[in-house]
């Protein structure tokens, strides 16, 4: 179904019609007639029939939550995940710290050092889920698509500060080896078939 029917606000065309609302009766006889009319119109029985019909139809919409869960969309922004590179299985995070900078609720802390190979290495990375508002800026700003949002939304805690560590977010290596890492399709991710749209950089000016 297209949205055109809803976007068209021109009430002079289409299925719009004026409600037939009568004026309020002014005198006693008019009021009496209205009461009699309303009494014998049987609208109460329409209401009774509607609920009875639903009971007979038994089209239950309940989801029994802990046993059943609603499917959530790929763009849903729940608890963060750290992805690995498909080629080498190493961590994608390069420790640039953009996510820490852009975090508007100031809940990401990242600490890095220069390791033996003169490469930047992440030593500490925590997200305070008690402060996180799941805005998705960190995933959007990440140049390597390293930090993304996952689908795990059950993160109740008995403390206000509930820290998520780097190791918890990182895709487990055995899952990576099995090729089961799910790419995030939501905020900040590459749109599908992006490869086909890549053009050569024009060098001849």
């Amino acid at each position: 179904m297209s949205l055109e029917a809803f976007n068209n606000r021109n009430v002079t065309e289409g299925d719009y019609f004026l409600c037939d609302i009568e004026d309020y009766p002014q005198d006693g006889w008019g009021k009496f007639k209205r009461v009699v009319k309303r009494t014998f119109r049987g609208e109460l029985f329409v209401g009774l029939w509607v609920v009875m019909r639903e009971m007979i139809r038994f089209d239950i919409h309940t989801i029994q939550y802990p046993q059943e869960k609603m499917p959530i969309g790929p763009r849903y922004r729940a608890v963060h995940q750290m992805k690995r590179l498909w080629e080498s299985d190493t961590e994608r995070c390069i420790g640039c710290g953009l996510c820490e900078k852009i975090c508007i609720s100031d809940c990401i802390r990242i600490d890095t050092r220069i390791d033996e190979n003169s490469r930047k290495e992440v030593t500490e990375y925590t997200i305070n889920l008690g402060r996180c508002i799941f805005c998705g800026y960190c995933a959007e700003v990440c140049p390597e698509l390293a930090i993304t949002h996952g689908g795990e939304y059950e993160n109740a805690s008995d403390q206000r500060e509930h820290f998520l560590l780097y190791e918890d977010m990182l895709t487990p290596i055995d899952k990576m080896k099995a090729g089961k890492q799910l790419e995030f399709e939501g905020f900040g991710s590459i749109t599908p078939h992006e490869d086909e749209r890549v053009k050569k950089t024009p060098l001849a000016y």
Binding site: V35, G47, L48, V51, E54, T62
Partner: protein
């Protein structure tokens, strides 16, 4: 008064108390299930298969909760009010024949505690005394919402006593007795003899008034739904609140027995089928209480008063007058 009669009566009283206390609990389960199905929900599902043990869990919770008497309430009245509601509801059951008389081990049992000659007046009177539960409870609560609710409950109950009494007057004139057993005998001939055919207006009026007497949904003004407050029971907790609840549901069951007994032939000729018929009619009227709760909105208090005094009461009076003329000529 011989001792056999005494023992029999005590046994009957205990059985009625136990059966209808349990039924009040099971009634809450049915209400929640029926409402849920009508609203495309499942209702209680977790305690027992399909949630059938939910009322047991509720009972354990009610019995073990702390009984809070808030500061500022009038403690003795606050404590006695729920007892009035529950007790009067069960007292009304004394004059209701729940089943036709049957023989057990050669001993004839009349499933009515006492066939008094003013049965209907007694039932209506005692149910009217039940008004003091919400009224005293709300006034003693030191809570303005409870007080509003109590005032509203008093207005509704007292007004609709008038409609109930006048509506029932015409059938009483026809039968010439106030005993529910005599009402049943009058209609024992079969469906054609039911009073509802000769007194349809009285039947409708009594049915409407029954909703007000039990405080059920089209007239559910004893709870302040517009203020999102439970009404006179706001300050109550634990089993005292539970007594209000048992009283309300027992009242629903008893009025569901009284309507078929008065208008729809009761248990008929007293056969086994007749007894089943009475239970079926009772179940329908109880179900109708739940059905309307799912389907209909509440009316405003002023509309309720208008309906009572300007519509139902004149119709009831006219009905009585017409019945009188028809009987005279």
């Amino acid at each position: 008064m011989d001792s056999a009669y005494l023992i029999e009566t005590i046994i009957k009283v205990v059985v009625i108390l136990l059966v209808f206390s349990a039924l009040a609990g099971i009634g809450t389960y049915f209400e929640r299930k029926v409402l849920a199905f009508m609203q495309r929900r499942l209702g209680p599902m977790n305690v027992g298969p399909y949630g059938v043990l939910q009322f047991g869990a509720d009972a354990i919770k009610l019995f073990t909760k702390e009984d809070i008497i808030p500061t500022g309430v009038v403690a003795p009245i606050f404590k006695i009010a729920p007892v009035i509601t529950a007790a009067t509801a069960f007292m009304a059951a004394a004059a209701i024949p729940f089943l036709p008389s049957f023989e057990i081990f050669g001993y004839e049992v009349h499933p009515i505690v006492s066939d008094i000659n003013v049965g209907i007046i007694y039932i209506l009177g005692v149910m009217a005394v039940g008004l003091y539960g919400p009224l005293l409870g709300g006034m003693a609560s030191a809570n303005k919402y409870s007080l509003i609710s109590a005032a509203r409950a008093a207005a509704v109950f007292i007004s609709y006593e008038v409609v109930t009494g006048l509506a029932i007057l015409a059938p009483i004139m026809m039968v010439g007795s106030l005993s529910l057993i005599d009402f049943n005998e009058y209609q024992a001939g079969g469906i054609g003899n039911w009073i509802v055919w000769s007194q349809p207006v009285a039947f409708i009026l009594f049915w409407i008034a029954a909703f007000a007497e039990t405080g059920r949904t089209p007239f559910h003004l004893i709870a302040n739904d517009h203020e999102i407050i439970d009404g006179f029971g706001t300050e109550y907790s634990g089993m005292r609140w539970g007594l209000f609840f048992i009283g309300e549901y027992a009242n629903m069951f008893f009025i569901s027995f009284v309507i078929p007994l008065l208008f729809l032939g009761g248990y008929g000729d007293g056969s086994f089928l007749g007894a089943l018929g009475l239970l079926a009619k009772m179940s329908f009227f109880f179900f109708f209480f739940l059905w309307t709760r799912a389907a209909w909105p509440d009316v405003r208090p002023d509309q309720l008063m208008w309906l009572c005094w300007k519509v139902l009461m004149p119709i009831a009076v006219i009905n009585v007058v017409i019945t009188g003329f028809v009987m005279m000529f």
